[in-house]
């Protein structure tokens, strides 16, 4: 379990850097709209998770179970691209500046990567 401790420490470190970049991109230019990126990336794994609980992907009798899983994946893909597209839209209209856009995109990707790898590392092994 020593590896687990190291993973936790490095993941929280990366998460802190991600939040630092996003907050810096807001506070340096006194324009707090890029904070929406954090909300987007926190929401992004949710549809996948909820729809995964709702449906049994190995159920062949009714194929509606698979459709729910696919809908969750579709929503997750939508939200992940939204996290990149939102700062780009804001920067294109000069609501935020280009450095703020770069910082919030990188920070958001770090936050999302942390959430995803946390889910990967600490997934409970399901025994049948």
């Amino acid at each position: 379990m020593a590896a687990g401790l190291k993973t936790i420490i490095s993941l929280s470190f990366v998460l802190a850097i991600g939040f630092l970049l996003v907050i810096l991109s807001c506070a340096l230019f006194k324009q707090y709209l890029p904070l929406l990126v954090v909300a987007t990336y926190v929401l992004a794994p949710l549809p996948n998770w909820i729809c995964g609980r709702c449906a049994n992907p190995d159920d062949f009798v009714e194929s509606s179970g698979n459709a729910v899983v696919d809908f969750g994946r579709f929503c997750t893909g939508f939200l992940v691209v939204m996290g990149v597209a939102l700062p780009a839209v804001l920067a294109h209209s000069e609501i935020i500046r280009i450095p703020a856009m770069i910082m919030s995109i990188v920070g958001g990707l770090l936050i999302y990567g942390t959430i995803i790898s946390f889910g990967l590392f600490f997934q409970e092994e399901q025994e049948f």
Binding site: D70, T76, G77, L79, A85, A88, S93
Partner: protein
């Protein structure tokens, strides 16, 4: 199954894996998100200080995208296996016929969205002879509708993979 194959080239093996299927669904979501945000970008840009002209994005510009998304919703909500239901003897009540009518409505809505995007580009931006930064609002409209179309194609293909996958597992 192999005797019923119509095309010379068969589908590559890796396309039948569940990983490729879920990657396709994620990509479809990403593409539709990109379409929505390209249109949103044009709308935000038109109200910002960088838009020097007096042409702005109105509800008219959004209408083709709404039709495209409606068509995408319709054609991907249809149960694909019902399309060939008439070939089975036990299925009466014309399910396949209904499915084809609804599917036709969906494709018409999708194509209508694309045509509407081109119409808005021509009537609102090309005919009044606007120059590039203003023309961008019309081009983004066509681009967004094309991306919605591409997204529904990707989603359609990855949903058709599912059947093969289920078939392989059932064996």
């Amino acid at each position: 199954m192999p005797e019923e194959r119509l095309w010379k080239f068969r589908k590559p093996e890796w396309m039948n894996s569940s990983t490729a299927r879920s990657a396709g669904v994620y990509a479809a979501g990403a593409l539709s998100s990109l379409a929505f945000f390209i249109m949103l970008d044009a709308a935000v840009w038109s109200k910002s200080a960088r838009n020097g002209s007096d042409i702005h994005i109105a509800f008219i510009d959004w209408l083709p995208l709404i039709f495209s998304f409606l068509g995408m919703l319709i054609i991907n909500s249809i149960e694909k296996t019902r399309l060939s239901a008439d070939s089975f003897s036990y299925s009466g009540s014309g399910v396949a016929w209904k499915a084809r009518v609804v599917l036709f409505l969906g494709f018409a809505s999708l194509a209508g969205g694309m045509a509407g995007g081109v119409t808005v580009l021509v009537l609102k931006y090309v005919v009044p002879q606007t120059v590039w930064p203003t023309l961008y609002m019309g081009v983004s409209n066509v681009l967004a509708n094309g991306l919605v179309m591409l997204s529904s194609v990707v989603l359609w293909i990855s949903q058709n993979m599912e059947d093969e996958y289920a078939y392989n597992l059932a064996l």
